[in-house]
């Protein structure tokens, strides 16, 4: 087995802005601007950031639901950036996705058996009869009952639906699951059930996860490494222990300080950032964070910092640590 399951290099996604009668391109929304990272088999990478930072777009490009503007994605030794048609379909079952909204991501007119069995049939991995058996087995794997397969999504609660979404992703024995805010819509007591399930499944099936979330505590719980995105850029990437004990990018520091913990005990010094995230259609020159950075220097307004390894596998894109 290769050392790296997934190799993402200089990934970019620009969405054109069209205006006028002729719908000419007048600019680009730079949703993802130069993202690179590796993922090992069995590893979980958490990607955190605020709305609009490009974390979902990155996940969707890796899933090949969106075509990257530039860059490459190498999955299991094969460059999948340009694959299409049957070749793409063949490899796609090795990576699956779990979505945020368990109400919107399951077809209400399909029975649970059809929902979970569809990827098996589509990929010619099973005939009807085999699919039925596999669905029963998958339902039990995710903590539901085999009898549930004849029921429909509306009969299930949010947490149960998320289990169904996970079972569907697992059906084709993927190596990688991209989970985009998979527990964000769930109540706290249900969220912990799903997190524990995902941790157990990872062990059982040697899965890799890319776990996209805005919740830093949830990401800490499930990830081996953490990447922070801001305005389309990956600004910090570090092993979990490193990241939470020694965050280096000023944005990561302020994100961690703004996270609210359920305790009244000694609190971190809170850094409240001023203003909003700039528009990705018109990102600032230099460092993307310089307009809000509490430690901004002259250089930050001119040159965009690049990712640099500062030791212990800790990468950061910031002139303070250059």
């Amino acid at each position: 087995m290769a050392d790296t399951l997934l190799e993402v290099r200089n990934l970019k996604k620009y969405f054109p802005i069209r205006a006028g009668v002729l719908k000419r391109t007048v600019g680009h929304v730079k949703a993802v601007n130069d993202v690179s990272f590796d993922l090992k088999p069995g590893e979980t990478l958490g990607i955190v950031g605020e709305s609009g930072c490009g974390k979902s777009t990155t996940g969707r490009m890796i899933m090949r639901v969106l075509d990257p503007t530039e860059g490459s994605i190498v999955f299991d030794g094969e460059d999948i950036t340009k694959l299409s048609g049957s070749k793409l379909r063949a490899i796609r079952r090795k990576f699956q996705m779990v979505f945020q909204d368990p109400y919107a991501s399951l077809n209400p007119r399909m029975s649970i058996e059809d929902i979970i069995g569809e990827p098996l049939i589509v990929n010619n991995l099973a005939n009807r009869k085999q699919a039925t058996e596999r669905v029963a087995q998958l339902l039990e794997t995710v903590g539901l009952r085999a009898d549930d397969r004849a029921r429909y999504p509306h009969e299930f609660s949010g947490g149960q639906r998320q289990r169904i979404g996970i079972a569907r992703a697992l059906a084709v024995n993927p190596k990688l699951i991209v989970a985009d805010e998979a527990v964000s819509a769930l109540d706290v007591s249900i969220q912990s059930q799903i997190l524990n399930l995902m941790v157990n499944l990872r062990k059982e099936f040697n899965l890799s996860y890319i776990f996209i979330s805005h919740n830093l505590a949830v990401v800490r719980h499930i990830s081996d490494r953490v990447g922070v995105m801001y305005l389309g850029n990956l600004v910090e990437l570090a092993p979990k222990g490193e990241f939470y004990s020694n965050p280096l990018h000023p944005y990561s520091v302020s994100l961690l300080s703004a996270a609210l913990e359920p305790t009244r005990k000694q609190k971190r010094q809170r850094i409240i950032l001023k203003g909003d995230v700039p528009s990705p259609a018109n990102p600032p020159k230099g460092c993307p964070f310089h307009t809000r950075c509490p430690r901004v220097m002259d250089e930050c307004r001119i040159h965009r910092p690049v990712m640099k390894d500062v030791g212990n596998g800790h990468l950061v894109a910031c002139h303070l640590h250059a």
């Binding site: 605020e50 709305s51 609660s157 949010g158 947490g159 149960q160 109540d187 706290v188 007591s189 249900i190 969220q191 912990s192 059930q193 997190l195 524990n196 941790v199 805005h214 830093l216 505590a217 949830v218 800490r220 719980h221 979990k240 939470y244 302020s254 994100l255 961690l256 703004a258 996270a259 609210l260 913990e261 359920p262 305790t263 009244r264 005990k265 809170r270 409240i272 950032l273 909003d276 995230v277």
Partner: protein
């Protein structure tokens, strides 16, 4: 203690249809003191949002109905007011801000029109004065370019700015009570921090009491003076915030606190509460948390639990908790 600003007594809000009676709020008592930030915390279906809509007398009709209880604001029972009298209370004595500022704001009215509408309804001043007041308030809540923004429309603003506009609109008549239903849930963490700081400033500046409804115990820890924990339409624990986090007593509160991953520590396995919330159309006869409770005894399933004061100022709805609190 002084007379509370708001006293809710045995409030019951049900949704009644032909065959079912959904007891969304099922006999709650809450006191809010002047200048206090009271957090109501609970999961979906706990009845926390219906409690705030009941206070505003905005329970969805025709099925939703406040079937009994009292909501006394400054000596006046809101449930006895006529609809017209209630209109004079909303926006003036009590204001509300919502989770989704985009759906709560009117997309076809400019920001200025929406704020002056509130002022003109409750104050006898001219339109020009009202607009001046609106601009002042927007500046106070930290909206940049307030003079221009009054002419802009909600879709032109970011989520954080929209929430500031909502707060400005809610506070412009200096209400005694502000109801905030998940005001920061839709916002990013860095913006959430800004909005919470602003709400605290409102309390400090105007002495406004705030009922903050949230599912997020992190927000509770940050903001609350007093906390009310709701489960299945009932209050299960009520205590000042320091004691809640130091010594939670109800098994549900404890389990909830243990279910949250921490940003400062690693857990091998996260505690999780088995099962789901009971159906509000057919609550069990005994304790409503019993079937998910790790400590449940046979008696819990039979006998409905009453809210008792087990320590001074610490109320718990669980017979297993002894006097003094264990």
């Amino acid at each position: 203690m002084a007379e509370p600003l708001l006293a809710i007594r045995d409030l019951r809000t049900y949704f009644i249809s032909k065959n079912t009676e959904v007891r969304a709020v099922d006999g709650i008592d809450i006191d809010v003191q002047k200048g206090q930030i009271l957090c109501v915390v609970g999961e979906s279906g706990s009845g926390k949002s219906m409690t705030s809509l009941s206070i505003m007398r905005l329970v969805p009709k025709p099925r939703g109905k406040i079937v009994s209880g009292e909501i006394v604001l400054d000596g006046q029972d809101l449930l006895k007011l006529t609809e017209q009298q209630m209109t004079g209370v909303r926006g003036n004595d009590i204001s509300m801000i919502f989770q989704e500022p985009m759906t709560a704001l009117n997309p076809v009215l400019s920001i200025g029109d929406q704020i002056t509408e509130v002022i003109l309804r409750h104050r006898k001043i001219t339109k020009k004065e009202a607009l001046h007041r609106a601009v002042e308030m927007l500046k106070f809540v930290g909206v940049p370019r307030a003079e221009q923004i009054v002419r802009e429309y909600p879709h032109q603003l970011s989520g954080g700015l929209r929430q500031r506009v909502m707060i400005a609109m809610a506070m412009v008549c200096e209400p005694k009570l502000l109801l905030a239903d998940e005001p920061t849930t839709a916002l990013d963490v860095t913006i959430q921090a800004q909005v919470l700081e602003l709400m605290r400033k409102m309390r400090d500046e105007f002495g406004t009491s705030i009922i903050l409804i949230t599912h997020d115990l992190g927000v509770v820890a940050e903001m609350a003076d007093h906390v009310v924990v709701m489960y299945a339409g009932q209050v299960v624990e009520s205590v000042n915030a320091d004691e809640l986090f130091e010594q939670p007593l109800h098994p549900y509160t404890k389990a909830l606190l243990q279910s949250i991953p921490s940003i400062d520590a690693d857990h091998e396995v996260l505690y999780s509460i088995p099962g789901t919330v009971p159906d509000a159309a057919s609550f069990p006869a005994g304790c409503r948390f019993a079937e998910r409770c790790p400590l449940a005894q046979p008696s819990c399933f039979e006998k409905a639990q009453a809210l008792r004061e087990v320590r001074p100022g610490h109320l718990v709805r669980c017979d297993l908790v002894e006097e003094g609190g264990v």
